[in-house]
Symmetry: C2
Subunit: 421 residues, 2 copies
């Protein structure tokens, strides 16, 4: 292949496209040339694009995945709107990827990142045309979170671990199952916070409540856990009741901005992505108010090496209001209130592994997902899981775990050895 | 004591001040009232200030250190110029501290920091009147570094460890001597860089060359180490020759900006403080150029929780051009070149311990220091060591060790467990 073959110069005879495609006419030389140029501008990824008439552009080599574009309309949407069109077209079948979707997306992300580093005009254009995340006012946050988390516990149960943890797991042993790794993650967090029986903890954004539950059950802590997703809070409360841990677990259906009281530890795992850049100082104020002198804090979040908006498709269809911060941006939380950052750990590859495990379960559950929703929903979430895996594998996304304390606290741990004993 | 006693209302009869003071007249009510107000503005530290005529202000309680001001001129210099006057007056005997100097300074730093947090006018005033650090152009850096490091190896040998390491040590065991802790620090750094035999390392700012030496001797690495202090480089070269490690150790008397070649690891321990805020992006460019794909980097530096200029006295008399960055500011090194921060460790209390050990040796060597220099120099460096210890103890200074790699490197260590085995 030479990176641009028209059907006339030797493409195989699949000119009538894949099933479900509408073929209006053969692709024009102009279309093929624009496509070729678009691939060059976005860093010449090693992928093959096959058009509805069998014409191809780009060269992914024998083993790589192929992107098939099922029609002229799909091609032009893709060229004009990039990421967001890719997501919607993938979901509605306007395009398809033959081969491993994660591998295809990794190649795309890596090439685009390289192109953006090398071409500041491209970088500026992408910045300008990427829509801003939706607002995270208290009302906005509630709407954004419900969009994602109130899809239904039954759906998440199909592919998350048994404890329903929807954040990066920790694999000290690479043969761990996702169940083992989620348990190891919770132990890692509890050790970083030096939890001991009787400690009081406040958790901002508690998901289905599993970390709070684990802290109460295994570390004897009393946890007040905030979440604005009604479905999740009701699930968490039921689980606490069943286990007879109600006296140690207080699940509050409210915004983190309304946290009150004083605690020995502050923890937030996988909420900062939903907090929004403009609110980090406010979060710092909340922590300063609720963390007692001598207390310890931990923030666990998806992040970036350099500032980038979330993929617009993810922001639009999956995670409204989401923004993964850089470490620099995260310092808004800590600097204003003179917190001291004690420890930052980057668990990027652990999230790639977690997503691999989720994705395998999701793929096994696809028939059930189609029954519960429809084909478009099923494809969209598959793309989201594979795309996230690719983003962590390619270094487009990071996972930061930050431990902090009050700036003048001399009771902080002497080394980090206790985490590894 | 009520925080302001004139000689008339009960101060003991030391009205003629300590030895060496010039007493021109009794302190006036106005002077005592300005002093009292100054103490209030700077956070009401729990210290007692005794004037030349025995009048006191402030209340340090029974156990605390007392600051004695030997004369009117000293008082007004102190009130007008704060930090810088304190340093110079302490050095020339215009003031004295009875009791533990570190403890006295800790109390001062803690109170002032609190006052600055609570009073943004004070904070702004201090910012405005704190002189900027001297420039770190290649010529400026050379001048600044010679000021500090070319005082003479014999002087530093009096109080540093046997390997002449002038950076924070690491005490995995709190009973370690400074020798043991400096060795542990080097092992910690080498493990963080995952050094193995045959690796090539470039070191920016190598001091007396001990880390490079250790890497060559104990890890089989080949190290090219840059330093602009002629005295230090000549010391390091002699030591490499004696040990027969010349084939593995290349000490270069040059600026980090002139690093060339490609290496498996980049390391810089205690140089960033001297690099200057404006040069971090340049440092990032240097690292990007010399760190091969798959390589690992480590930057170890004194830092801050929030942006603050260096103490003007330290900047003027001890460390010209010095600036301890916040983590946010350090990101200038990494973000622009898409490096991924893998690990940040804060070793603040380890530096306080290191300084305690240095200070004990320095105090034991004081007669020798007075012989080599003079009383003023001896007092200035004692203040510098105690002041630095107090700054780390009070949380005014931090010590950050940052490990990083290229942003798309999937060969990074899976966990940090290898550091603690």
């Amino acid at each position: 292949m030479n990176g641009d073959s028209s059907p006339a110069n030797g493409a195989p005879g699949s000119a009538n496209g894949a099933p479900g495609s509408k073929v209006t006419a053969r692709s024009t030389k102009f279309e093929r040339s624009v496509l070729k140029r678009a691939l060059q501008i976005t860093g010449a990824p090693k992928v093959t694009v096959r058009l509805w008439d069998g014409a191809t552009a780009g060269d992914g080599g024998a083993a790589a995945a192929t992107l098939t574009v099922h029609g002229r309309a799909a091609l032009w949407r893709l060229l004009a709107r990039g990421d967001i069109a890719f997501g919607d077209l993938y979901s509605d079948g306007g395009i398809a990827v033959d081969g491993d979707l994660t591998q295809f997306l990794c190649e795309m992300f890596t090439a685009t990142a390289r192109a953006r580093r090398e071409n500041r005009w491209l970088d500026a254009a992408i910045r300008i045309f990427t829509p801003r995340p939706r607002l995270n006012t208290t009302t906005g946050s509630r709407r954004n979170i419900r969009h994602h988390y109130d899809i239904g516990n039954d759906f998440y149960r199909l592919w998350l671990d048994e404890r329903m943890q929807y954040t990066c797991a920790y694999y000290p042993d690479q043969t761990f199952t996702v169940e083992q790794a989620q348990r190891a993650k919770m132990d890692h967090v509890c050790k970083k916070l030096q939890l001991k029986p009787g400690d009081t903890v406040v958790e901002a954004g508690c998901g289905w409540g599993s970390l709070a539950f684990y802290m109460a059950q295994n570390y004897g802590a009393s946890v007040t856990a905030y979440n604005i997703s009604a479905e999740q809070v009701s699930y968490a409360r039921a689980r606490a009741r069943e286990a007879g841990l109600e006296d140690k677990l207080n699940y509050v259906e409210d915004d983190y901005r309304n946290i009150s009281g004083e605690f020995d530890a502050f923890v937030s795992v996988g909420m900062l992505e939903h907090v929004g850049r403009a609110q980090y100082k406010t979060l710092g104020d909340v922590v300063a108010q609720c963390l007692r002198r001598g207390g310890r804090g931990l923030v666990h979040t998806i992040g970036r090496n350099r500032p980038r908006l979330m993929s617009p498709w993810i922001e639009k269809r999956i995670f409204p209001g989401a923004y993964p911060p850089t470490l620099r941006e995260m310092m808004d939380i800590f600097e204003g209130r003179d917190f001291s950052v004690l420890d930052v750990e980057n668990l990027r590859l652990h999230y790639a592994r977690t997503l691999q495990h989720w994705r395998e379960r999701y793929e096994a559950a696809l028939p059930r997902v189609r029954e519960m929703f429809d084909e478009e929903f099923a494809r969209a979430w598959h793309l989201y899981l594979c795309g996230s895996q690719a983003a962590f594998l390619s270094g487009s996304l990071q996972l930061f775990q930050v431990v902090f304390a009050h700036g003048d606290d001399n009771g902080v741990p002497w080394t980090r050895g206790h985490l590894y004993r």
